[in-house]
Amino acid sequence: MRELEKLYSRIVQRVNINLRELDFDVTPFAGELIPPDQMTKFYAFYGITPDHPLDLHFNHSALAGSYFLGKCRIKNSLLYKSDIRGDELKRKDQVFNHGDFEIPLTTDEVIAIDDSVLVKTLVHNFSHDPETAEKFFIKNTLAMDYSNIHGAPSDGCFLGPFATVDLTTMRDCAIGCYSYVQAGEINHLRTAPGTIWVNSPGNFNFLYSYPTEALAHYVSFSPENVPWGILFDFIEARKDAFQRVFDFVNLDAIESVPDTASLDRFAVVLPKTKIEDNVLVAQRAYLENSTLGKGANAQENCFIINSHLEGLNVTAHGAKIIDANLESGVFVGFNSFLYGKPESKLNIGKGSIIMPHTIIDIDKQLEIPADHLVWGLVRNNKELAENSIPLEQLVNIETSFTRGRMHFEGQGRMFVKAFQDRIHHILDVNGAFYENGKNEGHAQRNQNLSLNTIQPFHFGEMEGMYPDIRIQP
């Protein structure tokens, strides 16, 4: 057996050992996850920038098509087309505040991935765990296609396709496909597909569960089959556009990008797209026939097609916006799928918040008024009424409310504030408020980024594996 296959089997076993209490076996899902020949097909690459400390350490791992930035240590792991973005890691001497604790950092934080398989997974942000402030760990974990591990240290976990764990430490958990969890800390939890859970103990608790059959239409996976559904078909249909940006080492710079904006070299931009000041377009973002107004951002794996974003819009990791008009300040959360049609546009009013993992799929024009919170599955006005609430009404909720398949307990005011603060923070770090040399963020700093590539062994026992490499300034 080749080294790559041995490594893969060992990782699958480690994940299974961790998940044995949940009676969850990842073996059937892991079988067809990465065809071994794909592991030699793509180079890995990393960013060099004066703005982020550099220390990359690859040890006994396969890294096909993956990207690394900042301080990352990868050991005994298999990464396939994953983004390990260490540009928001904490720095030495910084003080990390958590509850009543003020934790001084003795070293720069590092993303440490051990004994894990990550497929088309985004790893970003920083560890929010006060117990491991200097180490954003991911170990004994299997993450499937388009999952997001966002500020979420993980030990012994499985993430299904399009699952997101956000600002949460997880241990021995199985997160169902298209589930979104933000809960601080979770242990031995198994979530059903399409579980949207945002919990801040003592403040608020939000839970929405997708109707199983309806969700299966968009995202499905089973032991017998590779994942399928509209979301996969949608991405697959645009796969070729990415081929070109990854095939060429040097691409011609796209004109008409303002000096204050950043367009990643590994993003796809098709005519006629307009990018205005302070816009950030991350790698693997796909833009087509759209306008990104001042301060808007398009994060990794997002798609913006035939749409107009007025400005200060956050399009979070993996979100997809098609045939839609977004007024200023509209937030679209992780992996949301806003699927308007050319003859039936989706219009979203100023300041509205589209919760992570929301699906809006319409055949008739739909208007979402300004300052609304929207969640779950929305295919018409009736479902919009059931899955939304004006922010003005939500801030007055003091105890609880139930609407359709959504449960909320706690203070609405805190929930809205948490979202609005976070949206402001995202815009801020992305450089959306940059003006006259002040409030610089990723959009301005990423311009100082260059890329290097690394290659795997192409022959022999080590085929698909990468040599042990340490990259430092």
Partner: protein
């Protein structure tokens, strides 16, 4: 009373209201009513009827609470409650939600009652539970212990393997109370 045994206070099966397996809820209620009318002379009416199988063996019991439970719609929210608990929702929220779900399914609606009337006794009878049996020659002391420990309103009295009567709490209470009154100075 000190020397009394269970058989001295029990009601024999032959005097008890019974229905057979397969009886509908409406007929069971009628049987219960008739049994109670027949015992109006008694201070303590029959509160339950027994369900017999084809061989005349007691296989279950139906009281008023069981009948009310049978007419309550089957709420399909147990899984939801379990899930909400898993995701840290409070008991207060769950209780409020249960009330909400129940209020959405009214009980006393003609259509609902028509369906309920066709329910068979085996669907809602209470099957005898361990600890609910007492042998006919046991002392009343033993019966009292069993009633208190198991919170049983009545016990099934057995002779070898067969159930031959019912020992009702009301009868035991009356007998005990009578004894105590003797010492009332």
């Amino acid at each position: 009373m000190e020397n009394s045994s269970v058989k001295d206070l029990m009601v024999p099966i032959s005097e008890y209201a019974t229905v057979v397996l397969g009886t509908g809820l409406a007929d069971a209620v009628t049987a219960l009513e008739k049994a109670q009318e027949a015992y109006t002379a008694s201070k303590y009416q029959h509160r339950a009827i027994l369900v017999l199988d084809n061989n005349g063996n007691v296989v279950g019991k139906i009281g008023q609470l069981r009948v009310l439970k049978a007419i309550e719609p089957e709420y399909d929210f147990n899984d939801t409650m379990k899930e909400l608990k898993k995701y840290n929702f409070s008991e207060e929220y769950l209780s409020q939600l249960r009330d909400k779900y129940r209020s959405e399914l009214p009980i006393l609606k003609t259509e609902q009652l028509k369906v309920i009337a066709t329910k068979k006794v085996e669907e809602f009878m209470q099957k005898p539970r361990p600890g609910e049996f007492v042998a006919e020659d046991c002392s009343i002391d033993t019966a009292i212990h069993k009633m208190v420990a198991g919170r049983h309103q009545s016990l099934l009295v057995t002779r070898k393997e067969k159930i031959i009567g019912i020992l009702r709490m009301a009868d035991v209470f009356a007998a005990v109370f009578h004894e105590i009154r003797v010492f009332d100075v």
